[in-house]
């Protein structure tokens, strides 16, 4: 895996997205601070960050919507802003939007005109691909949030782009829709070699879809790693509740474990406990303090971020 040095795409070949120390300041506020990254063909790269971390600003910078205060950015081998690039890029930034008085099909026709696509079947194809057939002649103002999101994705992918930039692509979708879009994006990358750059604040979703993840915090790229490495780094622990936590902690200590008591629960943070929660339950049952609750808890994104930036005041991942 490449580090954020901007030298080459992680999947080999020339990078499709190349940022070198890109910054964006609004007066005294630094929205994006010296970010460098390189994304290659076939990658699904997720920008992960809390609200206000700078994800959307970074995507807007890439799409030429805002000008960087410093640094350089290139897409598909050309500087950002080169108009020839846009025919090969599809995007969905922030909340999906559509002309409310136009139908789904007409909204896609507008995009087809503006993308200068001669193929009239592209619209029908997109309607079908994104499960919008039943709503094709419905005005956009009457769509649910989920279907509006589908329309936004259909607009972004109408022309089967080589680079797809998506801001929170599964927002508003139901679980079936999330799975559908996840499969579609993975298929785009795997089968068509498309590069997908997406932003999200949903740790679990990102872990399932991305091949590489960049953690953005206060405008800075503070961590960059592949999906497997993220799963290893995210803290997990076993949370046990019993009718007598003091006795439970004693029993677990006698069993050679290192329980930590917090109000209303006992935590086990060692790898053995995480991998064998059933054995933890057996220890407690045999000691006469059967668990009333036992769960392997993964720290949430906020906890992970706080730890990554060295500011975890609670010192108790996932327990807040």
């Amino acid at each position: 895996m490449d580090g954020p040095d901007g030298s080459a795409g992680a999947a080999g070949g020339p990078p499709r997205v190349l940022l070198h120390e890109v910054s964006k300041r609004y007066g005294p506020v630094s929205a994006v601070d010296s970010v460098s990254l390189s994304i290659g063909a076939g990658e699904v790269y997720a920008l992960l960050g809390l609200n206000g971390a700078g994800k959307t600003t970074l995507l807007r910078l890439l799409l030429g919507m805002v000008r960087p205060s410093g640094g350089t950015a290139a897409l598909l081998g050309r500087p950002v802003g080169d108009r020839r690039t846009w025919a090969r890029v599809g995007y969905l930034v922030e909340t999906p939007s559509a002309y409310p008085e136009l139908t789904v099909r007409e909204n896609l026709e507008v995009v087809r005109y503006l993308r200068r696509l001669p193929d009239r079947t592209a619209v029908d194809d997109a309607v079908e691909r994104f499960g919008l057939t039943a709503y094709a002649d419905r005005r956009a103002r009457a769509l649910s949030l989920g279907n509006l999101q589908r329309l936004g994705l259909a607009k972004a992918l109408l022309h089967r782009p080589e680079l797809v930039v998506l801001d929170e692509p599964v927002n508003g979708l139901d679980p079936a829709g999330v799975a559908e879009i996840r499969a579609l994006l993975a298929g785009l990358a795997r089968e068509h070699g498309a590069t997908v750059l997406l932003s999200s604040h949903l740790l679990g979703e990102v872990a399932r879809i991305a091949t590489r993840i960049g953690v953005l915090h206060e405008g800075r790229l503070v961590e960059e790693l592949d999906a497997a490495a993220l799963a290893r780094r995210v803290h997990r622990h076993v949370r046990v509740t019993t009718r007598d936590d003091a006795r439970a902690a004693d029993a677990l200590t006698r069993a050679g474990l290192a329980p930590r008591r917090v109000p209303g629960a006992v935590l086990l943070e060692d790898a053995w406990s995480r991998d064998r929660p059933d054995a933890v339950a057996t220890v407690l049952v045999r000691s006469g303090v059967p668990p009333t609750g036992l769960a392997v808890v993964q720290e949430d994104l906020e906890s992970h971020f706080l730890r990554v930036v060295g500011a975890d005041p609670a010192g108790s991942p996932g327990d807040r």
Partner: protein, 263 residues
């Protein structure tokens, strides 16, 4: 650029066709034409005009005689005053809707350049204003024929329609101000504010005698709103409107191309 403009025009035309705003602006112009016809109807019958008192006096001030020349003059004044509001609404809707509907961001990274989208909106806006003017003229012609107005001649019609169209062209040029205001202000509201401000300023500036130099007062003076004693605006006033329209159009294109679109 021709292909880009044609593509952008097709997209804009589809959006306009599906909107209710063209119908609303069309209805406003027909209504204005019918109000003009009512004034002419009142002027036709002095006894009725006297019975109506103030309304009769006002009609006399604004339109003059109840003949075809008076009908065209009244139509030109409708375009100059009411047209600024209606044409302004067209321009601020064409640009402002992209921000109210949050669709502006979808126009920014496309094979069709942003300036082509801006140009398409301006061209379509101009065509729309022309269509509204033709609609008003049609209403005036139909109502004039119904009222059997005297004084019809091809030269009167040509001159009258020419003044109406010239006034409409200048008013449509001024409407570019509101397209720029809706863009920079990212929505309808700032543009509506600018519209009211300019309409008010035109009244005040014209009242103190400098209307011939103030672009927003020029079409009204050309239409003869100030009355027969006031001369029509000169070439300088008309040049000021043309320069303002060109400047606002260029500034709108530059703004879309170069501004930070962070919302």
């Amino acid at each position: 650029m021709t292909g880009d403009l044609s593509a952008a025009l097709r997209a804009e035309a589809l959006k306009v066709r599906r909107s209710r705003v063209p119908w609303a602006t069309g209805a406003a112009m027909v209504l204005a034409g019918l109000v003009s016809a009512f004034f002419l109807f009142v002027l036709q019958d002095p006894a009725r005009a006297r019975e109506l008192g103030l309304l009769g006096a006002k009609a006399q001030l604004a339109g003059g005689a109840a003949d075809w020349a008076g009908a065209f003059s009244l139509a030109a004044q409708v375009v100059a005053v009411g047209g600024l509001i209606v044409f302004g609404t067209v321009a601020l809707w064409l640009f402002g809707r992209e921000f109210s509907d949050r669709t502006a961001k979808d126009l920014l990274a496309l094979p069709v350049p942003r300036r082509a989208v801006v140009l398409a909106k301006l061209v379509l806006g101009l065509a729309w204003c022309l269509a509204l003017t033709v609609l008003l003229l049609g209403t005036v012609l139909a109502s004039g024929a119904l009222l059997e107005l005297p004084g019809w001649s091809p030269s009167t019609a040509l001159q009258g329609a020419g003044t109406v169209l010239a006034t409409a062209a200048l008013t449509a040029g001024l409407a570019t101000t509101y397209g720029l205001a809706a863009s920079v202000g990212r929505g309808y509201l700032p543009a509506v504010g600018v519209l009211f401000l300019t309409v008010l300023a035109a009244q005040v500036v014209a009242a103190v005698g400098y209307g011939a130099w103030f672009p927003w007062a020029v079409p009204a003076l050309l239409a003869g709103t100030a009355g027969p004693g006031h001369p029509a605006p000169g070439a300088a006033g008309i040049a000021a409107v043309v320069l303002l329209a060109a400047g606002c159009s260029a500034a709108t294109a530059v703004w879309w191309e170069r501004a930070d679109h962070s919302t």
